[in-house]
Subunit: 425 residues, 2 copies
């Protein structure tokens, strides 16, 4: 197996000031191309630590992707450390300086002197072009391993990996990328998913994985090339069957993307009335371009007065049942639907905590309603109290799940792990 | 200097399926205690790779914190790899089995057989208690380095580090934690911050750092013990002066926390009218417990009809100036304030993209208004078009900045890098 190692440099990454998104992204890219990262090292901006890391990794790996440390400032040490590891001097690669000079000139600007440092590379280095930044990449060979140096800026790094580094590796190792299938689920824990899906017999070359992205869990199936499509389809249908009603969508673009696609294909319109989620659901829907074609408006009725004045929730219902109740959820959804004149309206009213819970209605108690042209569906649920943020995001997902189920003709009230249904109508 | 290394294990972390939040958290903990992580290694669940990593790290480091791989399943290999690196057999630590048996018994449950594996540790290991999980930690000594094995579950890991591992290291190395000062800024780029703050003379033992958390940038000053408080205060006042109006708050709890604190101390109330942000600002405010004491309601008036019907924006203004205009922003804020009966109202209406831009009003054009008891402030800005998400989040932050400035008696219209003011009133 080809051994691929990543070395990330930089104090910000090591000290946790920046989450190393380049690393996760590179792993995924390799994975989807049938390759695997063997290990990853994160090193501080220290010359001796860096050259030591290059030397040690080169004893072990076939390919080493070094990320960061190619900038113009004094704490950018990757090229110098590479030269030390090679036992070579640095030399100025004038061809790169020419590229930079031309770029600056074409924009009518003068190149800062500090950029010259970025062309100082080990004598044996071979340049890798960086069409979008001043840090060129380069390759060296050390102990039989190829070290590929890349800039830390994510956009530059990603372009260089996609256009120049992945093709090089794929060319040399001749793997064929596996096919990836992805699903988003709602309402099942990872261990329950494992119970359900663990029974499915996978062929050699098929790998089933999970990725928790609360409140959803992504299920993914990786299939190496060469397995008959009919066999793959058979496994997929078993997965889809096992996920049942808890399968939210056949992609990993998010719940809002599925809602948008379902609503657009039905040319239907939606209004929202949110209390404890406070605009979170509206914001998730609006995050997608094109949402204005179905999403009309939202009422963030956080106070009781707002519920009464903006969407006509009767004061008597608020008094009799309390703001967190099925009855108020129904009045909110029906009120919002009437005010907005939309086909559908969803409402959410609950206790997100940490305070405000009572014995009868503890934190996590949330009322939901879906108003449709025919009738209104409502339920009062007890969501797990795992913090204000999670109560709110699970509530937003739950409202979307009610609408999704209604639109595809499934029972509006699903079965969810860890969530207790107090009542429904 | 004490050399501290972290070894993270697990395919999910290496393959980018999980972001390694434990690593960033540990780095920050060390940092705030005057310690530093020298490097970090992420290794797959492979026995030979793991024991090789332990051996090599032990040649270099004083302390090695190993995270993960202590679970009950077959791909949890940390203890076995440690035994291999030591050249020792595993033995069953019955004292840990007794702890687990008692815990299960006290809950009236039977311990699964698979838990027994978690007590199989290298002969020379010394146990570290895990009061909240079934994976005990343990310490071994290898080549003079101490390896501390910790569970991967974040809550268990954090408790073990805080209560047992940090005290051990701090006890042995005798450092005194530095003082940390933090500020959130809005509207300055990192390089501009660097220009402004780079001129301030720092004493030996003071470190100034930045952390980008768009749309804010955190500035932090680390001061080692022993520097006179007066000297520190002098530097702090220079920093605060240099940040000027772009200093949003003297903490890093977020913009919404500052707004909440300012509003609560003034016992004032707020309503929102959002178009392109679509509830994002409301959701950010409501994310904080206690927000109901000042935030009354929000109108997500995504369609023109909603703007007219819910907050009385005159159709004629919409027609004459277009939905994205200072005039409509003013009508939205004043309409929301009148409907809600609050002291203040903020409005946001803009083009978040990627479509919908025109030559006159390109993507990133956003109108804002703040309605107060005295008068209404409004501006039309051109935010940088760096994607729909960023246009929306910068717009939400900008609205908060207008309110913040008003509340503390600064000019409502600030100066921001990369943002062009088209007009204001």
């Amino acid at each position: 197996m080809t051994r691929i190692v990543m070395i990330s440099t930089g104090d910000e990454v090591l000290q946790g000031d920046i989450v190393d998104t380049n690393a996760a992204w590179l792993s995924q890219q390799l994975n989807e191309n049938g390759l695997q990262m063997s290990w990853r090292l994160t090193v501080a901006d220290e010359l001796s630590d860096l050259s030591r890391a290059f030397s040690e990794a080169s004893q072990y790996a076939d390919w080493i992707i070094v990320n960061g440390g190619l900038g113009p400032t004094s704490d950018d040490l990757s090229a110098e450390a590479a030269a030390n590891a090679l036992g070579e001097p640095l030399k100025e690669f004038t061809s790169w300086i020419d590229v930079l000079l031309e770029r600056y000139q074409s924009r009518g600007r003068v190149m800062p002197e500090s950029n010259r440092k970025q062309a100082l590379l080990p004598v044996s280095a071979v340049l890798i072009d960086n069409p979008v930044g001043s840090a060129c990449g380069f390759v060296i060979e050390l102990n039989g391993a190829r070290l590929l140096f890349t800039p830390g800026v994510p956009s530059e790094f990603k372009l260089m990996v996609k256009e120049q580094i992945l093709p090089r590796i794929l060319d040399a190792v001749e793997v064929t990328p596996p096919a990836m299938y992805r699903w988003l689920t709602f309402g099942l824990s990872e261990s329950r998913l494992n119970d359900f899906l663990g029974k499915i017999e996978l062929l050699e070359g098929m790998t089933l994985g999970y990725r928790s992205a609360m409140p959803s869990i992504e299920v993914k199936l990786k299939v190496v090339q060469g397995i008959e499509q009919q066999t793959v389809e058979h496994v997929i249908s078993q997965i889809v069957d096992a996920l049942g009603d808890n399968l939210f969508c056949h992609h990993n673009k998010g719940f809002a993307a599925e809602i948008q696609s379902l609503m657009l294909s039905r040319e239907a319109s939606l209004a929202l009335a949110e209390s404890c989620t406070g605009g979170m659901l509206a914001s998730e829907l609006v995050a997608l371009a094109g949402s204005s074609a179905y999403f009309q408006r939202g009422y963030v009725t956080y106070s009781n007065e707002a519920k009464q004045q903006d969407i006509n929730v009767p004061a008597q219902i608020l008094e009799q049942y309390g703001a967190v109740s099925e009855q108020v959820a129904i009045a909110m959804a029906e009120g919002a639907r009437a005010k907005a004149g939309t086909d559908y309206a969803l409402s959410i009213t609950g206790i997100a905590g940490p305070d405000g819970g009572t014995e009868e209605k503890p934190v996590g108690t949330v009322g939901f309603a879906l108003a449709t042209p025919d009738r209104t569906y409502s339920q009062l649920l007890r969501l797990p109290n795992r913090g204000r943020g999670l109560v709110r995001s699970v509530a937003a997902a739950m409202a979307m799940d009610m609408l999704r189920r209604y639109l595809i003709g499934k029972p509006v009230f699903g079965e969810y792990e860890f969530i207790k249904r107090v009542s429904s109508a």
